[in-house]
Symmetry: C2
Subunit: 208 residues, 2 copies
DNA sequence: CGCAAGATTGCATTGACTGCAACGTCCAGG
DNA sequence: CCTGGACGTTGCAGTCAATGCAATCTTGCG
């Protein structure tokens, strides 16, 4: 991957990475709002104008790679089992992503998560991304059940899943003691999310 | 309410309303990004500086009154019935809000909803507001079940409800034919949301 | 009337973001 | 090898949102 590009592209990738690293370091030490683009570009030793060649906005530098494994999710959604309900399919897709090799509690993930949770502007940006992804999930789900599922129901279903996860994750990260416990054991995070989903859905089903 | 304030406050309120009206009119005709604060203040016949006396940001002028009836929600949540589960309480609170006299599909609501759905910057802002509200709902729910409910479960539960609603509402508004049908009959919106919630939750409960 | 509080305004400044044109470097075809 | 075009980078000028400060004008009250 990285090896077979020309010197030109390697150089470009290096400046991009320098910007990301500088930005995260500065955001973590000084705070997001207190860090200017000029600060970041100075630390990365490039011109301020260059920042916007690589990123569309200040917050975009933090969302370099997608946190959600959309492709994997879509792949699972593409093949519903016989007699599998949409909700069951969604749950199975979620499990696939959860048990893939995604790093959920790595070092840089922690720093990023802290920044996002602490900065209102970043919170909004992160959720915006998630909502965009949500739309694609809905589309994939509708493709899986083209005749039997109506759009509103599909969107509500996906919204419920995403909402459950966001609710759980938000609380897991914001509670300091819980966050510390999770940081110690990455496996714990999977278990937490697992029980959050199953227990929540079970309770929701028992309202009728 | 409006009558017993002095001339001073009435004037201030009038200025504020003039700004809101001018902003919505201009946003609707020219688009949000293409409308500057200077345009709005010129149309409202006040100084540009005055805008920020009334609103903290450009998007705030659209979120003048909260779309979610938080107080009502909190009031219901404060009095759980005996043997009522958290999920049941949440559902009951949602019903209360839905059947209050809130105008869900009024003219200005439609314009606002369209603007928010079409403008990325506004989507982010709306979500920020919803997340703040969500946090308060979680707190109210935890207060209702201080000993038996753990924070992560509560947050996941509320996230599921809010997520379900956002998913349904988004699709209801973005589908043009559906939106037209709803605009004709305001009562329809309530029914639509009602079935979205109950049917979604029922399906989620049948995943185990 | 006269004064204090509050509403509005002007001015200056910061910082995100954009369009444009220039300048250099890399890479391919001859 | 070397030359021309593609591409990464940069500087410059400009727009616009947002903020702090001080001045001005209006309202309400003694």
């Amino acid at each position: 991957m990285t090896g077979n590009m020309g010197l030109r592209e390697r150089k470009k990738a290096r400046t991009r990475q320098a910007l990301v690293d500088a930005a995260i370091a500065l955001f973590a030490s000084k705070g997001y709002d207190e860090t200017t683009i000029a600060d970041v570009t100075a630390a990365a030793d490039v011109s301020p104008r260059t920042f916007f060649v690589h990123f569309a906005s200040k917050e975009d530098v933090l969302f370099d790679d997608p946190p959600l494994k959309l492709e994997l999710l879509a792949a699972v959604l593409a093949h519903p089992g016989p007699d599998e309900t949409p909700a069951q399919l969604l749950l199975r897709a979620f499990h696939s992503v959860l048990h893939s090799d995604t790093d959920l509690m790595g070092q840089s993930e922690r720093v990023r998560a802290d920044l996002i949770l602490q900065t209102p502007a970043l919170r909004a940006g992160a959720i915006r991304k998630v909502l965009e992804d949500q739309h694609e999930i809905v589309r994939a789900l509708l493709d899986a059940y083209p005749d039997t599922l109506d759009p509103v129901a599909a969107s509500a279903l996906v919204g419920a899943m995403v909402g459950t996860l966001i609710g759980a994750i938000t609380m897991l990260y914001s509670d300091a003691t819980v966050a510390a416990r999770l940081a110690a054991d990455p496996q714990q995070m999977r278990a937490e999310l697992e029980t959050a989903i199953t227990s929540t859905w079970h309770q929701l089903g028992a309202t009728g």
